[in-house]
Amino acid sequence: MNKDKNINKKVLKKFLNLMDKDMDIKTCLFQFSDNQEILRQYAKIIEGFKNLKNIRANDDFEEKSLKDIYLRVRIENIEGQKKDFKKDMFFIRLRPAYLKPLVIFLGVFIFISFSFTGTIYASSDSVPGELLYTVKRTSENIQVALTPYKYENTIYLKMLNSRLSEADVILNQDDFADTMALEKLVTDIDDTYESCRNRNYLDANYNMQMQIRISAVKEGFKKRYGMQKKNTNDFSDQTLEDVQDTANSNTGTQGFEQDNSGNNNNSEAGNNNSSNAGE
């Protein structure tokens, strides 16, 4: 029984394949003489379905539905235009085409800003000879350029303190060997001090403190590195006590008498400085 069924299955498949090739039914059936009766029934079913092709909609409906489609499209277009108009009004020409580059630009801008701020923050503790020192100096120059003249005194005094602190840090380091950077630092200290003094940012007390600090730094550098740099504000030839005495005597704040018994050159230099400080 099973065997018959299997044979029928194979035969049926073969028969259906022949039917697929649009072969004449009689010819198809002729090839399967043993199973003609069963296969004829299949052929009848298939041919019966082909008759269903005659199902048709009314012609009126065909025309009516075409008009419906056009009407729907028109309504949708009008609604679409309304929506687009509302969208335009809401975003005020901020269309997605512009939105993407704008978001990218903002992202890049924020990233760069954060990186830049971070670098500046990191460079605040740098000393001459380090990579970030250039960043520190550049940021200071920008700060000076952007600050109104009225408030520049704070920046300049901060810069002078910063230079002196850097010098202190270098003096505390045992392995600092970049003499070029050191010379540059000394020049910077002098230049900044000069700028502060010329602009009257230093009162007498503060001037004296600065002079003491500058001469201490230079003395330290001289002892350690044997630097011979000289200029108008060079206090390296004076001892720390000389500078202190001279400054005090000129300003009279401490009530010390002027001491000319020491080195004449030194006292002259001290007078120059103290008179400048008095300005």
Partner: protein
């Protein structure tokens, strides 16, 4: 309309957006799609609505989709099939928790009524137009066939309609129902065997 003409119509419509070309395509496919939908859902009113929806979608998306005559037929039948599935889902929801199969079973029990509805649209064939020769003259009426078709699972029903009523090739049918050619042949074989059993009863 042959394939070349259909291809030209699609190209011209995309190029010019002239409704004349759309109407040509519409008139060529309208009866086919209506027939396909009606045989699937056996509800004239719903079939009309779905047919209109199919051609509305065609109008909307024909420009956006890259199509030629070979891919257009599967595409339009696929739209129809998807809308039929949507219709079944809605109906199933409407009948609350009733599953699709139960729903179909219900339909089968009311089958005679549906068949009568569908049969209204059948035009009686003249003997001259009848392609059946005497030796294989159909002993099954259209009603029998529709009843048998209604009792088949959806996928089998669709394959039978697409293959024997619409005359599509297996590749196109595969594209419509998302199966490969061999699977379509297997489905067709199972459907024919089942139909024979049902009709002999």
């Amino acid at each position: 309309m042959d394939d070349i003409e259909l291809n030209n119509c699609i190209k011209s419509y995309k190029k010019t957006k002239d409704n004349v070309y759309y109407e040509k395509i519409y008139r060529y496919f309208f009866q086919k799609i209506y027939r396909f939908v009606l045989l699937n859902i056996s509800d004239n009113q719903a079939a009309e609505d779905i047919t209109v929806d199919v051609f509305y979608k065609v109008y909307r998306y024909i420009i956006k989709v890259h199509l030629n005559s070979a891919s257009f037929k599967p595409w339009i039948y696929k739209i129809a099939r998807n809308l039929i599935i949507d219709y079944y889902r809605k109906e199933a929801k409407h009948k609350k928790n009733q599953s699709l199969e139960q729903y179909l079973e219900d339909k089968q029990s009311d089958g005679s009524e549906d068949v009568e509805k569908t049969d209204i649209f059948l035009i009686e064939n003249n003997s001259a137009e009848n392609r059946l020769d005497e030796s294989v003259e159909s002993e099954f009426t259209n009603q029998d066939l529709l009843k048998g078709l209604g009792s088949l699972p959806d996928i089998q029903k669709q394959v039978i309609i697409l293959r024997f009523v619409e005359g599509l090739d297996y590749k196109s049918i595969g594209l419509i129902i998302n199966k490969n050619e061999l699977a379509v042949r297997a489905i067709k074989f199972r459907a024919i065997s089942r139909l024979k059993e049902l009709l002999n009863k």
